[in-house]
């Protein structure tokens, strides 16, 4: 089933996708002419498959639950923000705050992601096949951020329990973020993640970063870290 955003309003399209008639058993949808509109596919809550043919604006697939959304183009700020479950694939590049605060599901960006990718992530798995901008995984709480390219400055600043895996270079690490040993358990976890997401990569080529946990409780001796 196709929706042309030149002919239908965003509200009409989102309303349809948010309230899929299960009896009709239509599970595949295509959105044409997105023209950078904001909040396309926001608030989906069913196990459906949506392909967006073109670029999207802010908050594409925001707060997604269960749905799979594939964008054949670039996405604006906050793609898959606060996603709970499902899968979002971006064939192009992503702007700032990709996957921000996401609780679950998987976000795969085939190009680059701008700054603050995975900010405050809470359990989502984010895989960026290109590079990520500065302050990525800032205050990241849980989940995995996997970067196949490079990471810009202050990666993982003030990170909690999220894990970061980077194959390329890291310009610098943020406060309380340190390189950690990539042991068998971590290699196994990454292998499992790649398998689940159908990604051909060698986990052994990645370095792991996470929290030193020195700033979890405020101590005056650490004041210079900020």
């Amino acid at each position: 089933m196709n929706f042309d955003l030149n002919k239908k309003t965003l509200r009409e399209v989102n309303q349809h996708l948010q309230n899929v008639d299960r009896k009709k058993n239509t599970r595949k949808f295509e959105i044409l002419n997105p023209q950078g509109q904001h909040a396309i596919c926001a608030g989906l809550k069913d196990d459906i498959d949506v392909t967006v043919k073109g670029h999207t604006g802010y908050y594409c697939a925001g707060m997604n639950q269960k749905a799979t959304v594939t964008v054949h183009g670039n996405v604006g700020t906050g793609v898959a923000e606060n996603m709970m479950s499902g899968k979002i694939v971006v064939k192009g590049n992503a702007s700032q705050s990709a996957g921000a605060t996401g609780h679950g599901g998987a976000l795969i960006i085939e190009g680059d992601a701008s700054s603050r990718c995975g900010i405050s992530m809470k359990g989502i798995d984010i895989v960026v096949k290109g590079s990520v901008g500065h302050m990525s995984a800032f205050m990241a709480q849980k989940g995995n951020l996997v970067v196949m390219g490079d990471a810009d400055a202050d990666l993982g600043d003030s990170i909690y329990e999220a894990k970061i895996f980077v194959k390329g270079k890291v310009k610098s690490l943020g406060a309380d973020c340190v390189e950690k040993k990539m042991d068998k358990k971590n290699i196994g976890e990454l292998t499992k993640l790649f398998k689940k997401l159908n990604i051909s990569e060698d986990p052994k080529k990645f370095k792991r970063y996470g929290s030193a946990r020195n700033l979890y409780n405020f101590k005056i001796d650490n004041v210079g870290a900020y």
Partner: protein, 435 residues
């Protein structure tokens, strides 16, 4: 103090103690609740009442409407409250589950709303609240679309009166298993929330964020924007521009669960001045009464409510006062106050998690000191009292609807209050700064 001893005005004994504490500990003070310093407030205003040119309404028999509709600018389902007094956002985490439930019970009994906080929505709170406003904060702790859809309104929190420009803070002693689980954080850490939202910066972005929230909730829910009283004229203008249905303005007397004392006492402006500026902004945009204005920060009595409404607010919100109705700072369990180094009437130790009366704690033993059913009745009684006082003052000024109260009903007792509230100094027609 002995009569022959002269205290330093620049260095009173409290200042000397604080200097010596800082010298010993090397760290700022963190505490809860709001500003303790004296600032111009609603006590500096009086109502004129009826006279030869104004007819009063009969105090006990003539009706005086208190209901208010919030959020009818864009939302399909605005909220109709029976009274214009709401419960402000306070997190589960900062407060215990019993306290949150009690607030919901009391507010629901009075047909008004309560509000979540930095930590998500609890079942107890949703279950006990007829109208529940769900906050979207920078941390997004516990944020999920199911709860968003369960809410009756959504409040995008940009700032808080106690600390405009600062994020939430909850020290490790209050991060127990349940609180940690709801926030996806390790137990026992000092949680310091972000002060900026993770996926938008500035009013242009916020407009798009609001569009997303409306898309997710079928354009049903009223969207509030809450700002701390920093630059209220511009903040209100930008909130309206961003598409708010309701602006919530929190003055510097507003409370917090925990933040630096220096922040509480020295950042933000008093509610009195902030309110006037926000109303000016709405009037300039021809949006007064179209985008509703909810004011909080130091509201204690029906007189405060009435004065805020006379100055142009559509409703008020209470936080610290509601906690006090729950027994915060009550003369109970005095030994436990002493253990904290304080006593009833002076306690601001919400940050410790050792609240003697079981309001601001996650300790199961302390929490048992607050029965949510009884405490809910106290909230109801308190809200009833505020409403009766509000109606009394409205009738005395000849108003059959509390929203008909107007600045012309007020006079100021101090030059500062006259300048801030822009009402005449009592006994004169002088409004400082007005040409």
């Amino acid at each position: 103090m002995k009569k022959d001893l002269k205290e330093f005005k620049t260095f009173p004994s409290s200042t000397i103690k604080e200097i010596q504490r800082a010298a010993n500990e090397g760290i700022y003070q963190i505490r809860g609740l709001g500003a303790k310093r004296k600032v111009p407030d609603f006590d500096d205003l009086v109502f004129l009442g009826a006279s030869m040119s104004r007819y009063p309404l009969e105090g006990y028999r003539e009706t005086c409407n208190t209901s208010v509709i919030l959020g009818d600018r864009f939302a399909k389902k605005p909220i109709k409250l029976d009274i214009p007094i709401t419960i402000a956002g306070m997190s589960f985490g900062a407060l215990g589950a019993n306290a949150k439930e009690a607030l919901g019970r009391g507010a629901s009994a009075m047909g008004t709303s309560t509000t979540t906080g930095d930590g998500g929505m609890t079942q107890e709170e949703r279950g006990s609240s007829k109208y529940l406003v769900y906050q979207l904060l920078p941390s997004r702790y516990g944020m999920n679309p199911d709860d968003l859809r369960k809410a009756d309104a959504i409040e995008v929190v940009v700032g808080q009166g106690a600390k405009p420009g600062g994020g939430g803070m909850l020290l490790g002693q209050k991060i127990n298993k349940r609180v940690a689980g709801m926030r996806t954080l390790p137990e026992g850490i000092d949680q310091r929330s972000a002060c900026r939202h993770p996926d938008w910066t500035g009013p242009d972005d916020l407009e798009i964020k609001i569009q997303e929230l409306r898309e997710i909730t079928n354009w049903e829910k009223p969207i509030y924007i809450k700002v701390g009283a920093a630059r209220p004229f511009y903040d209100t203008t930008l909130a309206v521009k961003a598409g708010a249905d309701v602006v919530v303005l929190d003055g510097m007397q507003g409370g917090t669960a925990a933040t630096q004392d220096v922040f509480i006492e020295h950042v933000g402006i008093p509610t009195l001045g902030a309110l006037r500026e926000a109303v000016d902004a709405l009037k300039e945009l021809n949006m007064h009464r179209k985008v509703q204005l909810v004011v909080s920060g130091g509201i204690r009595t029906g007189a405060d409510v009435a004065k805020a409404m006379a100055m142009g607010a559509d409703a008020v919100s209470i936080g610290s006062a509601a906690m006090m109705a729950l027994n915060c700072n009550a003369d109970l369990y005095v030994e436990d106050y002493k253990k904290l180094g304080t006593e009833p009437g002076y306690c601001h130790h919400c940050h410790t998690g050792r609240c003697p009366v079981g309001v601001a704690t996650q300790d199961p033993k302390l929490e048992k000191r607050l029965n949510p059913i009884e405490a809910g009745k106290r909230i109801k009684n308190y809200l009833t009292t505020l409403t009766l006082e509000l109606q009394t003052l409205a009738r005395a000024n000849g108003k059959s609807d509390v929203r008909n109260l107007e600045p012309e009903d007020l006079a100021a007792l101090t030059v500062e209050a006259a300048a801030m509230a822009r009402v005449p100094l009592a006994g004169t027609d002088w409004i400082p700064g007005k040409k």
